[in-house]
């Protein structure tokens, strides 16, 4: 059975689950509807990629458990919002500019740039690893400089030009760093890769201070698979071509 057949099967399963959720009345039902319509396309894309990569059943299980969690969280947050002990959330208007597109959002002040990008623009390439600025999986460019988007408040980056991994390629033509990472096998599981590539893109722009090598200039990105040799080779190749 090819991934296409499996994909169709999972889609039917998801659609059935969706219609059950949509039939739910009462607290949280509006949020659930909004989530399903906003997120449907992204979920389908994720599932397709996972199946192509051979992660079929595990991916589908992950997706289902993710959705059940989200469902539970939505109901919980609705319940807490209606209770008088919790202050109603105050949102502020933010203009998020990501990969040349403008998103007018209303966000609570504590929303990080990473969460705003992932949850509100549908761009899930930037990853949440440690969520503490230690692993670099969330690296994006802000006005051309690499930063940890998990330690940045979205509100503070109102109007700032953000580039994520989705904005690096030129249409179907991969960025030289993306090509080099593939050529040199600069990854295994791939979770840190968007952050690694965005950090490398920042490095190419900033340059590496005298006396420092690529390894030192990439010290903010951790790869638990240990694909460092490939990562360094990929970046060195692109740097060499630039010089």
């Amino acid at each position: 059975m090819g991934w296409e057949t499996e994909y169709e099967g999972f889609l039917a399963m998801l659609d059935e689950a969706d219609s059950e959720l949509l039939a739910t009345e009462g607290a949280g039902s509006e949020e659930i509807k909004a989530f399903l319509s906003e997120d449907g396309e992204a979920r389908r894309r994720f599932l397709k990629q996972a199946l192509i990569a051979g992660g079929g059943v595990a991916a589908a299980n992950l997706l289902l458990s993710y959705r059940l969690n989200l469902f539970a969280q939505t109901v919980e947050s609705m319940a807490s919002r209606s209770s008088s002990t919790v202050e109603s959330a105050v949102t502020i208007p933010i203009t998020l500019r990501v990969n040349g597109k403008t998103h007018a959002l209303n966000l609570e002040p504590q929303v990080t740039l990473l969460d705003a990008i992932r949850e509100r623009t549908g761009l899930t390439g930037s990853k949440k690893g440690c969520d503490r600025g230690q692993c670099g999986a969330c690296t994006v460019l802000a006005d051309g400089h690499r930063i940890n988007s998990c330690l940045a408040l979205a509100a503070a980056y109102d109007g700032v030009e953000i580039t994520t991994i989705e904005g690096l390629a030129n249409g179907d033509q991969l960025h030289p760093l993306q090509e080099a990472f593939i050529k040199h096998d600069g990854f295994q599981c791939g979770y840190c890769t968007p952050g690694q590539i965005m950090s490398a893109a920042g490095l190419l722009k900033e340059g590496c201070p005298t006396g420092m090598g690529v390894r030192e200039c990439m010290s903010g990105n951790i790869c638990r698979c240990g694909a460092y040799n490939g990562i360094v080779a990929a970046i060195e190749e692109v740097r060499g071509r630039q010089a």
Binding site: E87, A89, V90, I92, E108, P109, Q110, T112, D131, R132, G133, G136, T139, A142, H145, R146, I147, N148, L151, A152, L153, A155, A156, D158, S199, G202, L203, E206, P209, M212, R215, E216, C217, M218, S219, G220, N221
Partner: protein
């Protein structure tokens, strides 16, 4: 993270007023330390006043030396030509700290106000006199490999985590601040505090005072200066021990010297004892060794960090050897 209100300040006066009016408000600059601590509930401000758009980013020459705006990022300062030529120890210290991403976010003002990385302070499951005054210090009977060996108290043995501040201590930096009562200047050595019986207060800056710049006086010793950081891995780790050293050498004789240590005390530790040994002496290995002994004479190690005493001595000798041999303005 607890919820809070967010306000972007249009100018310095508005930022100061906003924080002065709310005792639990905080200024937000790079946020690399504050947001992290807020995620762990170590700090819970009710309001953040975003100062990132204020015009405090400039790095400029002034008649006495260099003025660095409080919002200049660590990267901007480290890569600035005027800093690299006139105050190399500052550039070296900044590049030894954090990661490229964090250096692009973190500011000079925020770096001065970094909180300790003591693991008991960072974990709300433990008591901590710095976090909850009077609750006790679990580091003293606990695991204290990374803690202080100089200037600690029975209430707190935390260390200051900054590399930049160690360099500033060796450069006689002056911190310019503005508050509701007006502007004032604070010498770097008076800026941070020893823990004493009030470890909850890190600095002598008032909560409603805003750092506006760091001024560095030019000097011959600032030009011949360097930084050595010893840590558990090659990059991206806090210092076990670090040394900022600056020397003015004429005909083999040390005319002026500055030594400051990081990773050993609650504040960047300027060693006037070592400087006394160096000043007027011949620039050689014997002098450097004597200076290192003088710097660590008062050290009181904890159960797990006696190694820092010897490590600090050797680091002092090594960086003095390095700095004394550097070519500065054509002279060796």
């Amino acid at each position: 993270m607890n919820s809070f209100t967010y306000k972007r300040a249009a100018n310095e006066a508005e930022a100061i007023r906003e924080v002065a009016d709310n005792r639990s408000a905080k200024f937000l600059a790079g946020g690399t330390n504050l947001i992290d601590l807020m995620k762990m509930n170590v700090q819970q401000p009710s309001e953040l006043v975003d100062i990132n758009r204020l015009a405090l980013k400039k790095i400029e020459s002034i008649p006495t030396g260099l003025r660095i705006g409080a919002l200049a990022t660590n990267s901007e300062v480290a890569n600035n030509k005027l800093v690299q030529e006139g105050f190399p120890v500052l550039s070296e210290a900044l590049l030894a700290g954090a990661s490229p991403q964090l250096r692009n976010m973190a500011t000079v003002g925020g770096n001065l106000l970094q909180r300790t990385r003591c693991y008991y302070f960072m974990d709300t499951a433990f008591p901590c006199n710095k976090r909850v005054p009077g609750s006790g210090c679990p580091a003293i009977p606990g695991f204290n490999r990374i803690h202080a060996i100089l200037g600690a108290s029975e209430h707190c043995i935390a260390t200051h985590p900054s590399d930049m501040c160690v360099a500033l201590a060796a450069l006689d930096a002056v911190i310019r601040v503005e508050g509701p009562k007006g502007a004032r200047s604070i010498a770097i050595t008076d800026f941070h505090r020893l823990p004493g019986d009030t470890p909850e207060i890190d600095t002598n800056l008032q909560p409603d005072e805003l750092i506006v710049s760091v001024d560095l006086p030019s000097s011959a010793f600032a030009k011949r200066s360097g930084y050595l950081k010893i840590r558990d891995r090659a990059q991206y780790a806090f210092a076990l021990v670090s040394v900022a050293a600056a020397l003015d050498i004429k005909n083999g004789r040390i005319e002026a010297a500055r030594i400051a240590l990081g990773g050993v005390a609650h504040k960047p530790w300027r060693s006037t004892e070592a400087e006394k040994v160096l000043t007027g002496a011949q620039s050689n290995a014997q002098t450097f060794k004597a200076a290192a002994e003088a710097a660590l004479r008062g050290a009181v190690p904890q159960n797990h960090n006696a190694f820092k005493v010897e490590l600090a001595k050797r680091a002092i000798v090594r960086i003095l050897n390095d700095v004394s041999g550097r070519r500065v303005g054509g002279a060796a």
